[in-house]
Symmetry: C2
Subunit: 439 residues, 2 copies
């Protein structure tokens, strides 16, 4: 039968109906969030002014399965289940016997996995009677995803986008505007944190930590406005578990047992979404390695310290137990803006501490090299962030080949890079790798 057996597409009605909360199953429990003075007030007092009650419940829930509300399932059905694809041509190009699969989260309306939590968060805010959302944005994926989700549930939205990122990639502002979002360069004059930063340096390029401070600041000052975060928090990881649940079913259909599950790590949401549903299996003795691909230039998990730290520069968030390079760490500019974050999700931090997740630092050059190989063999331009997961997967496959122990590797293609082409354009790797240049 002429069918491409390398594309594993679940039928629409196989989209997961529940999210998987790993909190009660973690061998190393996630500690409570604290305030600036190190006390542990009720979570409502800490974050209740900017988050709706259902998300706060999810943040500390000890219930494993959370039914996905119908309106969220309906939104998911616009693009889920996403395909799991065997990267057969990539395997051939690498000349490895390992089988490489990628979970293609780039097929969502926003072009990335962020939509999984964006629609859930927009829904719960809508349910709470909130009219407006604020958020921050580095690379632009999260802002795009939340802009779409806000439209879907008839909310207005303002995005504080890091000024340097905005200048580098104007297409991101265009698409968010197209979707009806209001986009402001951060630092802005609208918030206390923004004004303070501009007073220090009128030409400040901004940073993700500062943009978070601005978005939270505005949400705190308006009762009709809440704040939404695209990564790090427990409820975000929870919503992303649709990824891993689908992968599990798809691997069963393919008749495969995974040896490696790999995702890039910025705040931890696509990694968490992939590995959480497999974590109980590993705790039960199944042999699967979870790898976190983080940029060598922002080595939160490989070189950061575990402890309590803030999620933003102005210290408006709660203090969370996590690996961190310090809330005022300013990572150097790399093409993968979405991975430039000083902290890590508390859940991922716990999994790293229990040695269930192994972090690996990946060089930007390798991320580029394998991204081009992927484009030329699988016809998908990976988002710069996803290229780190891809690169680690390819390196691992080559290593297994050398050791004559081929295996099954699965990575998350968290997004496409069609709105990040300027990053590719400015990189010399493109010229070097283009086969057409031989001509």
């Amino acid at each position: 039968m002429p069918m491409n057996k390398y594309v594993i597409q679940l039928p629409k009605d196989q989209t997961p109906r529940q999210w998987h909360n790993i909190l009660p199953q973690l061998p190393e429990p996630v500690g409570p969030y604290k305030n600036t003075t190190g006390q542990v007030p009720p979570l409502e007092a800490l974050i209740g002014s900017v988050f709706p009650p259902w998300l706060i419940e999810q943040e500390r829930s000890d219930q494993i399965w959370h039914p996905i509300p119908f309106p969220v399932l309906e939104a998911y059905a616009l693009w889920r289940p996403t395909p799991l694809i065997r990267a057969r041509r990539l395997e051939l190009a690498l000349n490895v016997r390992s089988r490489i699969y990628y979970k293609n989260e780039s097929v969502s309306p926003s072009g990335c996995h962020k939509s999984n939590t964006a629609v859930a968060q927009a829904y719960y805010n809508h349910l709470a009677g909130i009219k407006r959302l604020t958020t921050e944005n580095g690379a632009g994926q999260w802002g795009t995803a939340l802009a779409i989700a806000a439209r879907h549930f008839y909310l207005d939205i303002r995005v504080f986008m890091v000024k340097a990122s905005l200048a580098q990639n104007p297409a991101r502002q265009t698409i968010m505007n197209l979707l009806g979002a209001d986009v402001l360069a951060s630092p802005s004059l609208l918030t206390i944190a923004g004004r303070a930063d501009l007073a220090k340096d009128p030409h400040s390029p901004g940073s993700l930590g500062l943009a978070i401070s601005e978005a939270i600041g505005e949400a705190m000052s308006r009762s009709d406005t809440n704040y939404a975060l695209g990564s790090v928090l427990n409820h975000v990881i929870l919503h992303q578990t649709v990824i891993g649940q689908e992968v599990k079913k798809q691997l069963q259909i393919a008749g495969e047992k995974p040896d490696y599950l790999i995702a890039c790590h910025g705040g931890g949401s696509n990694l968490g979404g992939l590995v959480v549903p497999f974590t109980p299996d590993v705790l039960n003795g199944q042999q699967i390695q979870f790898l976190a691909a983080e940029p060598a230039t922002c080595p939160t998990l490989t070189k950061g310290k575990f402890g309590y730290d803030f999620g933003d520069m102005a210290k408006l968030t709660a203090m969370m137990p996590m690996y961190s390079l310090g809330a005022d760490f300013a990572p150097p500019a790399i093409h993968a803006d979405g991975l430039r974050y000083h902290g890590a999700s508390p859940i991922i931090s716990s999994l790293v501490k229990s040695k269930i997740v192994t972090p690996v630092a990946v060089e930007a050059e390798d991320a580029f090299h394998y991204a081009i190989l992927m484009a030329q063999n699988e016809y998908v331009v990976p988002a710069p962030e996803s290229s780190y997961a891809l690169a680690l997967t390819c390196q691992k496959a080559l290593e297994l080949e050398k050791a004559r122990t081929p295996g099954v590797l699965v990575f998350v293609l968290s997004g496409h890079g069609l709105l990040d082409l300027s990053a590719y354009e400015n990189n010399s790797g493109l010229e070097k790798n283009s086969p057409a240049k031989k001509d």
Copy 2:
């Protein structure tokens, strides 16, 4: 069951296995191609030096069903069948009772319908032992699609891209380079036609007609190189009929009978792909209106003359029986570069002559307006070209509402606009339409 019934997704094994050739069924037969002196030599003598024999056979075939070769089916399975989606939110935004569906061809690796013929053409060239392809490119969709198809069948490719388009949209060059294609600005110094144009005007912005001349010129001069055209020709329409065949099955699943089938018209390929499989039904008396949405600034079908004309500026192609504004017509710059073509597919021309297809001119402003409405309600940024089909669909739905005769309208979303955001950025409509600006 929590499923989105507005997304109609055929299972993988329902991808069509045959292409539908309409030539033997046309009430107004397509006349033979002629040479410059008006004679009718064998097709091999006219175009045999740049096309492989199988495509020449398809160009004049009187066989209705053409089995799709297995390697092409395998490639199709990377993204086909494509979803048919009921634009429920768009209907609500328009406040119409008509049911609007769109066939989402933007999910292909190239982001548009051009991949349907690109993989077929690359395959037949590979079969003929050809090592290299040349082609021209206006908007960039066709070049991207052929670059991917060439990679898939291990062919090299050179794309002559209209210099003005290249300057306007550098992302298109980046992605084609990423995919391994060699991209040259046209006019170039490589070909006779290019040098002649540059001699006249060293700052020539180029045109699609000239880029075609350059690509054919180079293919004629090298025995290992063939040329590929992304629209107009009979074999291109043939390959695109997978679109309409799938739509037919999907409408049956939805329990719908279509009243209007609508596509944009540049050279005719996505329109032909949609309507050909429904044409025998119309000839048998079924009431379906086929509408061609063409730009008011390049009104080939509404204002052009029917007769024999060349497909390119340097008159290197055969003379074809078609509607044309004249081979040297230079359409004004609009955002939808892919619709700026002086001619029309002979098949579409025949259907217009028989009054089976009705052409309608659409204003650029309306295309923009409805594109933004679509982005904000269906979360898809339409390619500028597809926006013409969308605009005509919305206008028709509003007209039906006024007449109190709601119907079923289906249009082809031929591609997404993620690589054309600069077109949106430069348009004032965005500011006007953005709801966020109210804030």
